[in-house]
Amino acid sequence: MIDPRLSVIDERLGRIKRLIAVASGKGGVGKSLIASTLALILSEKGFRAGLMDLDFTNPSTHLILGAESAYPLEDKGVVPPKVRGVSYTSISFFTGGKPSPLRGEDVTNAFIEILALTRWGDLDYLVIDTPPGMGDALLDLLRLIKRVGFLVVSTPSRLSLETIKKLIEILRSVRAQVIGVVENMASAEMKSIRGEVEELGERYLGSISFDPEVEEAIGNPDKLLGIRFAEDLRKVADKLV
C-alpha cells in the first residue's frame, strides 16, 4: 500500500523560495518567540512570509501572535490564514487549544498531512518553529524537506550550548544547511557563546538581549515589533535576507 501524500509535498512547497527552521534541541531558549517575530519582521520588510508551527504537542506561536481565532480556509486544500500579513499554520487551529499528547508516529502523520494539504502559494520565506529534543519532528523535517536551512538558537547557558553542539553535529552528518547561531536572552552577567560558536565553524548571527518587555508583548504582534527584542532580531534578519 502506498501513501500518496508523500508525492505532493515537493509540489506544495514548490513556490516557496526559502525555508528556515528555527531549532535548538533545547526548550525554552526562545525558538517560538524568534520564529514568530522573524516571520513578522520579514513580512514588515515586504517579503511574502509564512510561519509553520511544528511543535505539535506544545504549540505556542498562536499565543505569541494572538492568533487564537485564526482558522484556515478549505479550498482544494487548506489555505493558511494571514496573521498580520504572515501566512500561518498551526495544529492549534484544529485542537482548539486542547492538550494534544501525540506519540512520534502521530507527529509524523500529522506533519505529512499538513505538508500534503497546505497551499502556501508563492512565498519568499517560510519560517518553521520546531519542538525541543531530537525526535520525530526534526528527523521528519530532514527526511521530507531536503532544502530547509537551520537557524540555531541558544542561550548563553552551558546546558544550551552543549545541546546545540549536538544538534549541529547531526545537521552536518546529513549535510543539512546550518545558517548560523543566534544567541538569545543575553545579559551582562552571562558570558557570550560567540567564541564557542565560531570555534565550531558556524556563523554567529548576533545576540538578542533578555528583554523584560517580552512578556507583556505576548499575544500582541504590534507591541512585539516595537520592543528591544524585535530590534535585536531585525539585525539578525538583515543577515539572512
Binding site: P4, G77, F94, D106
Partner: protein, 134 residues
C-alpha cells in the same frame, strides 16, 4: 473541502507508480480511505475524475472505506470511531488532521489519550492496474 488536495496526491502518486513500473496507461486505481478522514466520497470522486483527465485519462477509480478502530495502549480496550456523536467542529478538525483525535477522544474504559489508530486512518493506494507501454 480538502478532498481535492488528497485527490491530487492520489493521481500524482499513481502516475509516478505507473512510470516506475513502465506502464503506458493506467486503467484502474484501487484506493482505500480510512473512516477517520471522513472524506466526502462524491467530492473526492469528482476531484479524482477532473484531475485524472489530463494525467491518467483512462483510469477508473475504485474506492473502499475502512472503518476506524482504536486500541488503548494503557488498558488494551478497543473501540470504534463514532463521528456522528461528535460536535461538528471536532469532526471537521479530525477530518483535516486525524491525529487531533488525541485532543478530543479518550479511551472509554480508562480515560487515556494514549490510543493507537489500529485501522481507518489515511488515504492509500492499494493497487494499480495498467498496460505496459510499447
Amino acid at each position: 473541502m480538502h478532498e481535492w488536495a488528497l485527490a491530487e496526491a492520489v493521481v500524482s502518486a499513481a502516475s509516478k507508480l505507473a512510470g516506475e513500473r513502465g506502464l503506458g496507461k493506467i486503467t484502474l486505481v484501487k484506493i482505500k480511505v480510512g473512516e477517520l478522514q471522513q472524506i466526502d466520497l462524491e467530492v473526492f470522486k469528482f476531484a479524482l475524475s477532473q484531475i485524472a483527465e489530463k494525467l491518467l485519462p483512462e483510469a477508473g477509480f475504485e474506492i473502499s472505506v475502512e472503518r476506524a478502530e482504536f486500541r488503548c495502549r494503557a488498558c488494551g480496550r478497543t473501540w470504534r470511531f463514532r463521528g456522528e456523536e461528535l460536535d461538528p467542529e471536532i469532526r471537521e478538525a479530525i477530518h483535516v488532521i486525524p491525529e487531533v483525535a488525541h485532543a478530543f477522544l479518550r479511551c472509554p474504559r480508562c480515560g487515556s489519550p494514549d490510543f493507537e489508530v489500529v485501522k481507518g486512518r489515511g488515504v492509500w493506494i492499494e493497487s494499480i492496474v495498467g498496460e505496459k507501454s510499447g
